[in-house]
């Protein structure tokens, strides 16, 4: 099903025209309402009327996370405070939190875009849908919540924590859909197993997972353990929250709600647009946002825009899997390494739990990479009584890592349940080199 055929299936020509019109409007709006952007545009000698088509977007300045921090709390807000009806804030673990204010219209656009995502996943008014993103300052919980209500499904605002009670409700209420982080989905599956609830006893059919990068292997594991079909849901609070892009049943990339969020892919070093289909840094411009519009925001997410048109009927551009973050990217002995590459290898071997930790260090002048993985004893056979068997397992993992990373990693086996796990975003890297 398609929620808004008018927009989701618009011809490319009409979409470009609409985007151009909206870009002109948003540039005019920020020029007159946000001193930060007026200054940047004036520095480049750009008047709002110079921006007439979507192709003119390359003339506009970029916005970075640091710009958001520097303008804390309301420096980038365009709407008067009286028009703001909601404020979200990022976790701010690395500096000032990022504050995003939404007008009533922004909340409406968000709900509309989220409705498109849910409808693509096959969720309808007949479903009971659990939102297990954190509710609160984080955009995940309320963002998904408003979309579920908007399509007329019954929302179970479970949030995170209290996992056992949540699982009882999933079983007893016949909950058919869930939105949460992929790592929380795996945590749910583990807790379910501990509680003795089988996937046959629950009726989860659809899962919308996002807020952290995940891989195809992780998708299969979640689908297998929870007995549902797992869809990608992408978003970021600086742009809106969850709803920026979504998978359709074809699951060949995530359709971008590009009438509201215009995507570009640029080379993270040169900031020049990359060739079609090439991986680079994803950049978004909000085309309709009132509260905190943002021009060419550098998401630090690395992905590509997929070529061709999807056979589902939607004409919108699709982004590929997030390959990593520009700031996740580790440079080890001059080689670019993404934690997601390690993850795909770890998840392809059944002897390991879907958890891992990269420990990077510098010994002498040489960078070292250690990959810690947790053993999964249910897959041990009787040969796991010799050191040789464990060494062979280590070697198999090291060999696969070497072929994927082009880098030798030291494998470190850990007992089950020993790698730290969190209920929200998992951290997969410790880089000791930062101390030097």
């Amino acid at each position: 099903m398609i929620w808004n055929e008018n927009k989701e299936c618009m011809s490319r020509e009409d979409m470009r025209a609409l985007q151009g019109k909206r870009l002109h409007k948003i540039v005019t709006y920020v020029y007159h309402n946000v001193p930060f952007y007026r200054k940047k545009l004036q520095e480049r000698d750009i008047r709002p009327d110079d921006i007439q088509s979507i192709d003119d977007i390359v003339r506009l300045p970029f916005t970075t996370k640091q710009d958001l921090r520097d303008n804390y709390p309301f420096g980038l807000q365009a709407a008067p405070q009286s028009e703001i009806v909601r404020i979200h804030a990022s976790s701010g673990t690395t500096g000032n939190p990022t504050i995003v204010g939404y007008t009533r219209k922004d909340i409406g656009v968000w709900s509309e875009c989220m409705s498109r995502c849910l409808t693509a996943y096959g969720v309808s008014r007949n479903d009971t849908f659990s939102v297990a993103y954190g509710y609160g300052l984080f955009t995940g919980g309320l963002g998904a919540h408003y979309g579920v209500e908007n399509i007329g499904a019954a929302v179970l605002p479970a949030s995170i924590g209290n996992t056992e009670k949540h699982l009882h409700l999933i079983r007893d209420l016949g909950v058919s859909g869930i939105a949460c982080t992929p790592s929380y989905a795996l945590y749910l599956a583990e807790t379910m197993k501990r509680m003795g609830i089988t996937k046959e006893q629950i009726r989860l059919r659809v899962g919308a997972f996002g807020a952290e990068p995940w891989t195809e292997e992780m998708r299969r594991e979640i689908e297998d353990k929870l007995g549902l079909k797992a869809y990608n849901l992408y978003g970021l609070s600086e742009i809106m929250g969850p709803c920026v892009s979504y998978e359709c049943p074809r699951q060949q990339g995530s359709h971008i709600n590009e009438d509201h969020f215009f995507p570009e892919i640029v080379d993270p070093e040169t900031l020049e647009p990359v060739d079609a289909g090439t991986v680079g840094e994803l950049v978004f411009t909000t085309l309709t946002k009132e509260g905190m519009p943002i021009l060419r925001y550098r998401t630090r997410d690395l992905c590509s825009i997929l070529p061709g048109t999807c056979s589902c009927g939607r004409t919108s551009l699709r982004m590929g899997h997030i390959m990593g973050r520009t700031d996740d990217m580790l440079i080890i002995r001059g080689i670019n390494v993404f934690p997601s590459q390690v993850e795909s290898v770890v998840l392809s071997m059944k002897e390991f739990a879907p958890r891992y930790l990269l420990v990077v260090d510098r010994i002498g002048n040489l960078d070292t990479l250690q990959v810690q993985v947790e053993l999964r004893q249910e897959y041990f056979d009787e040969n796991f009584d010799t050191i040789a068997t464990f060494q062979e397992l280590e070697k198999r993992l090291a060999d696969r890592l070497k072929s994927v990373l082009s880098l030798t990693a030291k494998v470190n086996l850990k007992s089950p349940g020993t790698l730290a796990r969190s209920l929200g975003k998992d951290s997969h890297v410790i880089d000791h080199r930062k101390q030097y």
């Binding site: 004893q377 796991f384 009584d385 010799t386 464990f390 086996l413 007992s415 089950p416």
Partner: protein, 142 residues
């Protein structure tokens, strides 16, 4: 001919062994023999104990990486050359010993080992009529 051995993966750091032993203690498991093969980062703790099924389940529930396997248990004479006599019977057939340890229970000297060819080793032991014990008899001894 064979007895049940539990093999536990332990990280090579302070506290991991005692944590596992406390788990067994709480389940009133009696250890008969215990030995550790170690590397710099981890070790395998091999255990012969009373009620091996119960011990196995208790460890699994405690989220310990444990494996259950059958290992040969030969009874040998407690005097110089006792072990050599038994092992030479197996070695001269070209069968390798992966690991071996021994313990004495009720004045019986037992050799516990794994070979690289369990089937042939069993044949050789049977033909040479080497005295062996199994799980039931071990529990009697203990």
């Amino acid at each position: 001919m064979t007895i049940t051995q539990l093999s536990v993966f332990l990280e090579n750091k302070a506290g991991t062994l005692i944590e596992m032993l406390e788990t067994l203690k709480q389940a009133s498991i009696q250890l008969i023999a215990i030995t550790i093969a170690e590397t710099a980062e981890y070790g395998i703790c091999r255990i012969i104990c009373s009620e091996s099924d119960k011990a196995y389940n208790v460890l699994r529930e405690a989220n310990v990486a444990v494996t259950r396997s059958k290992v040969f248990a030969l009874e040998v004479e407690n005097k110089p050359g006792g072990a050599a006599k038994a092992i030479s019977t197996i070695s001269k057939e070209g069968i390798g010993i992966s690991y071996l340890y021994s313990f004495i229970v009720r004045e019986k000297c037992l050799l516990i080992f794994r070979t690289d060819d369990a089937e042939r080793a069993a044949d050789v032991i049977r033909k040479a009529k080497l005295p062996t014990i199994d799980d039931d008899k071990l529990v009697e001894f203990a």
